[in-house]
Amino acid sequence: MAEARPVLDEGSSVASDAPRKPGSTRALVALLAFVLGFATVPHRVCEREASRWFEGDPEKTEALAAGLERWTSSELAPASFATGSSRFDGEWLFATYVFAAMGFGQVALERPETRTTNLARMERCLEAMLEPRVRAFDDTAWRTDALASTKSAPGSKEDRGHVGYLGYAALPLALHRLLSPSSRFAEREEEIVAALARRIEASPTGFVETYPDEVYPVDNTAALAALAMHARATKQAPSPALARGLLAVRTKAIDPATGLLVQAVDAATGAPRDAPRASGTALAAYFLSFADASTSQALFDALERGQFRTVLGFGGMIEYPAGHRGRGDVDSGLVFLGFGVSASGFAIGASRAHGDLDTFTALYATAHLFGAPFDENGIRTYATGGPIGDAILFAMLTAPRATRWSS
């Protein structure tokens, strides 16, 4: 700077004959400008749509809904996914239809003027979701058909489990019934919800198995959300199974140290069999926003308190809490530098459900950065997500406020 001063003082741009260091003030100014741009611009670029999604902007939701309609109108198959396991490929196919159906239903709920269009879109997903090819992953694991099992005699050997299929299927079916009381899926929805309620009540732990001897609390929260939505749709008191299931989640599946949901529990005792994890917690917070706002809020608070981090304004959820270590799997998705893809994505829905704009904005910025949205002819798709990525983001970005159900 000492060398530069005479030049500036004199208003001169002429190089002096005094020795100058390479790089000079210009380079320093450039470096400072670069750091300023690096630190302040990228997340602002990526979060600029967040408030519109948070408020349920019709243009945005319709563009993504149209993209999902395109995916779900074509026939997806388990071979469309590649987790390395036929069971997980089937789960992803099923999840694509479930989350797409939830997204269409949530938009129909939020914007009644779109109800006809979105109910038709939702019904295509519900039909696909109930097809044998889509539920084959569950049938193979149980060696019985999930839907046939709902008609088995109460208390019989066949009247157990399948919550990984029935719980997730029941929630969009119940939402459809709420939107359309004369739903053509009402009978199917009634059977599934009744079977889930029976199984929760009969279970020694209050949990229903996803696969034989495998219990995942997050799958049970989907079933509990379905029970709550069924009660609203039919204007009946909730089944006692709802309270029993919620009690099981609160007392057995929430880790007292972290407040996060344990990923797996023992089928016989309900004791934890896996670490508390952000991916299951975030998805459970979304599901429970339909059933029990306070438990959902407690899970979301635990996530925000312990797992939420920002880097340069981009938000993400750390998959494993302090003291626990693990790798990415089919539940967490890719785990990079501790951040979980699924946890961060599902937390978008939880933050919207609980009206937390700041967290929603930071998480959306990350989804926007890595999702690579592409808009054309009024249709949006997230280029790196494929059908399941679009479906999950659609459901999360349109998650209804938890307060909606408490009034």
């Binding site: 001169s12 100014v29 400008a33 611009v41 670029v45 059908p387």
Partner: protein, 119 residues
Amino acid sequence: MKEAISDPKAPQNEREERTPKKVLAANKRPLAFLAISVACLLLHHVLLRAMAHGHVAHVLLGAGNAPPPASAAAVAITLLVIRLLTVIVVPGLLLAAAAEIVAYLLVGPTREASDDPLA
């Protein structure tokens, strides 16, 4: 050069001598930043369209346990890298280029452009 410093009219003379060639020579770095930024933006635009139109994510997901098609994998990886560069680095590069150009316009080259390999 001594005369230039002692002569108060020298700066104006210097500015008057800013031929396009000299201006370019003195602003190689900001121009390189601009070129990199424009290239990243264009490449990002092309790759994003290719990825979305070719349903590349879907192709990758649908590859089963076999290795994914090399072209699809290449497009996906390149898009991710270019997108990160475009979103994270390019704003800084553009600001740096703008700052350098403004500095050049205000105070001129800090020394003979040809002496500075980066300038």
